[in-house]
């Protein structure tokens, strides 16, 4: 197989979309937080918590969508904690985020071990199965690539559309964007910056957790420690890469995933034997940085990102 064959195969793009799905959820979540002015470094931990809580809920008997809801709520709970510390109290978003990642991760592992002390291989659930969308799935190439995915993947794309619409076409979206650009402008129009930012962080954290849950409910069917494996950090890069726009962020996620899918395949090609496998694993990161270099000149960073707002401060 040479690169061209790989790039032209539907299964490759299907894999890219699959790999991208959890990233899309979490990137959208991070994007919402950052649009409102809050850098959420808790993302990695929130994804772990989401992966676990969604899975354990299904294992305990809830339907799959119930698991997604539980993950979302778990993420929102951690989001509430992040928001409380970083918004009204205005604590350093770096500390709160990293602290939260540590907290969510360790709390998840602890809970896992308390709930399932004796198992040496975690129980499996009946995960989301691919669902072929009638008619669309029969299209050549994009049919199998796009329309034979699990419902949660479709949900990811739907969510991206909803996020884009909400941000650009509804009053609350405008308020979120304004809170990230200039909180004083928001306050001067009689809105509560605190409420808007907290709302954004809580919602965004919910989406991150669903991204985590994708790993246990759709990409796989059980939970392992460390299985989020840095995906959250990638999403932070993807937000920048996507210039804080949902559409571009989704494209970025797919692009990143495509590189990941590609490196997996390249490892089997002729050069795979010659090049150390680490180089393949590096590929998506290196290309991300290169893409950033190209993109960043035009990107408009939310002006008030990482700037806490304390009204009456001088």
């Amino acid at each position: 197989m040479d690169i061209l064959d790989i790039l032209l195969s539907a299964s490759f793009w299907a894999a890219a979309i699959r790999i991208a799905s959890p990233l899309i959820f979490a990137t959208l979540g991070e994007l919402i937080c950052e649009r409102a002015g809050v850098l959420n470094l808790g993302i990695e931990g929130i994804m772990v918590a989401g992966a676990f809580s969604g899975w354990i809920a299904v294992w305990a008997g809830l339907p799959l969508w119930g698991g997604v809801a539980v993950a979302m709520l778990t993420g929102m709970a951690f989001g509430l904690l992040h928001a409380t510390l970083s918004v009204p109290f205005g604590l350093s978003q770096h500390v709160v985020g990293i602290g939260l990642t540590l907290l969510a991760t360790s709390l998840t592992f602890y809970t896992y071990r308390v709930v399932l002390p004796e198992v040496s291989s975690p129980p499996k659930i009946e995960a989301f199965q691919p669902y072929e969308i009638p008619l669309l799935a029969d299209l050549p190439l994009i049919g199998p690539a796009l329309f034979s995915q699990t419902p949660l993947t479709y949900a990811a794309f739907l969510l991206a559309a909803i996020c884009a619409y909400t941000l650009y076409r509804t009053p609350v979206g405008l308020a979120v964007r304004a809170a990230g650009e200039n909180p004083s402008a928001v306050a001067a129009q009689g809105l509560s910056v605190t409420a808007i930012r907290m709302g954004a962080v809580i919602t965004g954290s919910g989406f991150m957790a669903v991204g985590g849950a994708f790993l246990t409910l759709s990409a796989f069917d059980s939970f392992f420690f460390d299985m989020v494996n840095g995906r959250g950090w990638i999403c932070i890069a993807l937000v920048v890469f996507g210039a804080w726009r949902p559409g571009k962020a989704v494209l970025g996620a797919i692009l990143f995933a495509a590189f990941d899918a590609l490196q997996i395949r390249l490892q089997q090609t002729g050069i795979g034997a010659l090049v150390p496998y680490q180089l393949f694993l590096m590929l998506p990161y290196i290309l991300s940085i290169l893409a950033l270099v190209v993109m960043s000149r035009r990107a408009e960073v939310p002006a008030a990102l990482m700037v806490p707002f304390n009204k009456g401060e001088r």
Binding site: R18, F109, S120, S121, F225, D226, M227, A261, I264, A273
Partner: protein, 305 residues
């Protein structure tokens, strides 16, 4: 006799296949009443020597674990606690001047070799996919033995080898396996969690490693090369009990002839494996056990062929 106080120190969670075999064996010994068992998982190598000391100070008589990343420091700790027995997974050999530290490793290449025979016989495309975490000796030697076994049945067989750079990323392992299936593999060597899932989803076959996963994938996992830590641990417990624990290489307890490794029962695949393979397995098993056939131990990183 009073149960012996045993502590385990692992650098990964006890779900990890390799460590799970030690953990399970210890739990079984505790169940029997031979030992009391406590453990620390996910201990970073930075903390490892400290944890060893803490357990030693708390009066544990036997400490088991893995010191691949901290060989020198761990030996130093052991030297400070001559009354405590340390049974440690290690790439190195025992050191006679450090009588209370014995080493072991998962030398189950015998079983891997046999499972390779099954794989070679069952693969129709002659294309086998192998997904590993990291190319460390513990993984490499099993992969090589497996490949040797498979070639016994089909010298022209090709292998796809990938490492995902993580012990715990089942979704990634699964994606990697998918890619191999796309690329023609009809048999997978499931070194990581996630590989058998891909095989199951695509309706092809897989071979388990270290643990028996046929229960979870009855129509997928044909055979598994099992590691049994029980002989290793039980030998150590007995020696601690009668005071004869000395520096030794317990690695041999993982050999098939010691009962440390085996080919899992074919279970759901009983009767579906070609007779030629079964015959070869039977003869090799006997040869391995009586020492007339030795499976090569090759720790080098395997590559696709």
């Amino acid at each position: 006799a009073d149960p012996i106080k045993v502590a385990g120190i692992y650098t990964v969670p006890v779900e990890q296949q390799w460590v799970s075999r030690i953990h399970v064996a210890a739990l079984a010994a505790q169940e029997r009443g031979d030992i009391t068992y406590t453990f620390s998982e996910n201990t970073s190598n930075t903390d490892y020597p400290r944890v060893m000391r803490e357990y030693a100070e708390q009066g544990h008589k036997l400490i088991i674990g893995e010191i691949f990343g901290v060989e020198a420091e761990a030996r130093e700790v052991a030297a400070d606690y001559p009354d405590v027995a340390f049974l440690m997974g290690s790439s190195f050999k025992e050191d006679p001047s450090l009588p209370n530290l014995a080493v072991f490793d998962n030398y189950i290449q015998d079983a891997s070799y046999l499972s390779g025979i099954v794989a070679g016989a069952m693969s129709e495309s002659g294309n086998i996919g192998m997904v590993g975490g990291f190319p460390i000796p513990e993984v490499n030697r099993l992969m090589h033995a497996f490949m040797a076994g498979a070639r016994e049945m089909n010298p022209d067989i090709t292998f796809q080898v990938s490492f995902i750079g993580s012990w715990f990323d089942p979704p990634k392992a699964k994606e990697t396996a998918f890619a191999m299936i796309e690329n023609g593999a009809d048999m997978l060597y499931a070194e990581r969690f996630g590989v058998s899932d891909a095989a199951k989803e695509k309706g092809i076959l897989a071979i388990g490693n270290v643990i028996d996963t046929q229960g979870d994938y009855p129509d997928t996992v044909v055979a598994s090369a099992l590691w049994h830590f029980e002989p290793t641990l039980d030998a150590a417990i007995a020696k601690v009990r009668d005071g004869s624990f000395v520096a030794a290489d317990y690695g041999t307890y993982s050999f098939m002839k010691e009962g440390g490794a085996s080919l899992a029962p074919f279970g759901t695949f009983e009767g579906k494996i070609p007779q030629a393979a079964l015959d070869l397995i039977a003869s090799r098993t006997a040869a391995i056990k009586d020492g007339s056939y030795v499976v090569e131990i090759n720790d080098a990183e395997p590559t696709s062929s």
